[in-house]
C-alpha cells in the first residue's frame, strides 16, 4: 500500500505541475517572447524550445527532487492509509498522458523510420561533401521521388539530397543548402521534434510552429556567411520549392499552406541579410547563468523545508 500511495501521489503531483505549467506556457509564451525579444533566430528558437519543454522538464524535476524524497523520508510506512480518490484520479490522468505521449512519439518515429528506409533504398553516400562540410554528418544522394533536401534520423542524423536537387541547384547553392541541413543535424532538431510529440498538451501547436519557423531561420543564419551566400540560399529555397511537393496527401495540406507563407518570409529575410542582424551578441543570455546559480543555491539551502512543505501538500492531496 505504501508503494502504491507513493506512486499515486508522485504521478498526481507530476500531472498537476505539468498541466499548470502547460497552461501558463500556452497562454503566456507570446508575451514572454515579446518581453525578452531574443536578438537572433537561434536565440528565439532556443527560448521557444525551452518554453515548450518546460512543463515536462519541471514536472520530472519536481517529482524526482521533491515529491518522491519527501514521501519516502517523511511518510510513515506503517500506516494502512488508502491512496485517496484525488491522487488515484490524477495518477490515472498522468498515466494516460504519458501513454499518449509514448504512443504519439513512437508512431511519429515509426513513420519517419519507414520513410527513411524507403528513401535510402538505392542511395549513395556523397563523400566529397562530407569532407567539405567538415562535420561527421553523412550526406546521401537519393533517388527522385524522395524529399529534395532533408535531414532524417534522431541520434545519428543524416542529410538526404535528391538527384533532382543536385541537378537543379548550382554548386554554390547546393553547398549553402547543405550547410542549412547540417545546422539542423548538429542541433538535433529532429530529436527536439520527437520530444514535442512526447510532451502532450493541446494548444501548443502555435508555439511549435513558431519554434519551427525560428529553427529554419536559425539554420539559414548558420548556413550564411555573406550576402552572396544569403542570395544563394534564397535561390536554393525557390528552386527546391519549384521541384514540387514530395507527397500530396490531404493531411499535408496544412503544412503546404503554412510553409509557403514561411518561405516568403525566409526569402525576404535572406535578400535583406546583413551580418549584424544574424550574429548579434548574446549578452542578454549572460544573465541566465548567474540567475540559475543563485536559484540552485537558494534551492539547496531551503531543500529541507521544501521537502516538509511538499509533504504537507501531498498529505492534503491524500485527504
Amino acid at each position: 500500500m505504501f508503494a502504491a500511495r507513493c506512486i499515486g501521489v508522485s504521478l498526481a503531483v507530476f500531472v498537476l505541475v505539468y498541466v499548470s505549467l502547460s497552461l501558463l506556457v500556452s497562454r503566456g509564451w507570446k508575451l514572454l517572447r515579446r518581453t525578452l525579444r531574443p536578438s537572433s533566430a537561434r536565440g528565439a528558437a532556443g527560448l521557444l524550445f525551452a518554453l515548450r519543454v518546460l512543463p515536462l522538464g519541471a514536472s520530472v524535476f519536481v517529482t524526482l527532487a521533491f515529491t518522491l524524497p519527501s514521501f519516502l523520508l517523511l511518510e510513515p510506512r506503517s500506516t494502512g492509509e488508502a491512496i485517496g480518490a484525488a491522487p488515484l484520479a490524477l495518477g490515472l490522468c498522468c498515466v494516460v498522458l504519458l501513454a499518449a505521449g509514448i504512443v504519439r512519439a513512437a508512431l511519429a518515429q515509426l513513420r519517419a523510420s519507414r520513410a527513411l528506409v524507403a528513401w535510402l533504398n538505392g542511395s549513395a553516400l556523397m563523400e566529397p561533401q562530407i569532407k567539405e562540410s567538415g562535420n561527421a554528418i553523412p550526406i546521401f544522394r537519393v533517388a527522385n521521388g524522395s524529399p529534395t533536401l532533408t535531414v532524417a534520423g534522431l541520434c545519428a542524423p543524416k542529410v538526404l539530397v535528391s538527384n533532382a536537387a543536385i541537378a537543379a541547384l548550382s554548386s554554390r547553392e547546393l553547398r549553402t543548402a547543405l550547410r542549412h541541413e547540417i545546422a539542423h543535424a548538429i542541433r538535433y532538431d529532429n530529436l527536439r521534434k520527437l520530444l514535442f510529440r512526447f510532451s502532450v498538451f493541446p494548444a501548443m501547436g502555435e508555439l511549435e510552429h513558431a519554434w519551427s519557423e525560428e529553427t529554419e531561420m536559425a539554420a539559414d543564419d548558420a548556413a550564411v556567411y555573406s550576402f552572396h551566400d544569403a542570395l544563394d540560399l534564397a535561390a536554393a529555397l525557390i528552386k527546391v520549392s519549384r521541384l514540387g511537393p514530395v507527397e500530396s496527401s490531404g493531411e499535408l495540406t496544412m503544412a503546404l499552406l503554412h510553409s509557403s507563407t514561411a518561405l516568403s518570409a525566409r526569402v525576404h529575410r535572406l535578400v535583406t541579410w546583413n551580418q549584424a542582424q544574424t550574429r548579434q551578441s548574446q549578452a542578454r543570455w549572460a544573465y541566465v547563468l548567474p540567475a540559475a546559480a543563485a536559484l540552485a543555491i537558494a534551492a539547496l539551502t531551503t531543500y529541507g523545508s521544501a521537502l516538509t512543505q511538499m509533504h504537507a501538500v501531498t498529505e492534503w492531496l491524500v485527504r
Binding site: R111, L149, T150, E181, I238, G244, S249, S259, V267, W273
Partner: protein
C-alpha cells in the same frame, strides 16, 4: 450552426501560419481593408506583395471575403473570431485524439517542407526579387568593394 459545422469539417484549413493569423486579427479589428491600407497602417511590417499573397491565400482558404474596390480588392473576414475559435477547438480535439501524420509532426527536417502549385505566382515574385538583389550586388561589386560581404 451550419457554418460552424462546415468549419469543423474543414478544420485542417483553420490552422493558419503566424502571418496569416496576424492579418486575420488585423481584419477583425478593422472590419475590412485593402492591401494598401494594411501596409500603410503600419501594424504589419512586410512587403506589399507578401501581404497581397497572404490575403489571397486566406481568400482561397475561404476564410476571407473580397470585393473589388477600385483597382484593388477589399478583404473582410468571412467568420467571426468566436466562430473561428470554435473551429480551432474542433481541430485541437481532432489532433489530440487522432494521430496526426502531417509532415511537421514527424521528426524530419526539410529545407522547404513543400509548396503547393497555387504558389507558383509567389515563387515568381520571389524570383524577381532575388534577381533584382543579384543585379544590385553585381553593380555594387563593379562600382567598389562589396560592402555586404564579410571580410
Amino acid at each position: 450552426m451550419k457554418r460552424i459545422l462546415d468549419l469543423l469539417r474543414r478544420s485542417p484549413n483553420v490552422h493558419l501560419g503566424p502571418l496569416e493569423q496576424q492579418l486575420l486579427s488585423t481584419l477583425w479589428m478593422r472590419g475590412s481593408a485593402t492591401v494598401r491600407e494594411i501596409v500603410d497602417g503600419g501594424e504589419i511590417k512586410l512587403a506589399y506583395t507578401t501581404v497581397m499573397t497572404t490575403l489571397d491565400r486566406l481568400f482561397k482558404k475561404e476564410i476571407l471575403n473580397r470585393v473589388a474596390d477600385g483597382r484593388a480588392f477589399r478583404y473582410s473576414p468571412r467568420y467571426s473570431q468566436a466562430e473561428m475559435e470554435k473551429a480551432a477547438v474542433g481541430e485541437t480535439i481532432r489532433r489530440l485524439l487522432g494521430s496526426s501524420a502531417t509532415a511537421a509532426s514527424l521528426p524530419l527536417s526539410y529545407l522547404v517542407e513543400a509548396v503547393s502549385e497555387h504558389d507558383a505566382a509567389l515563387l515568381d515574385d520571389l524570383q524577381r526579387l532575388l534577381d533584382q538583389k543579384r543585379l544590385e550586388l553585381r553593380s555594387e561589386i563593379r562600382s567598389g568593394p562589396a560592402s555586404k560581404e564579410t571580410p
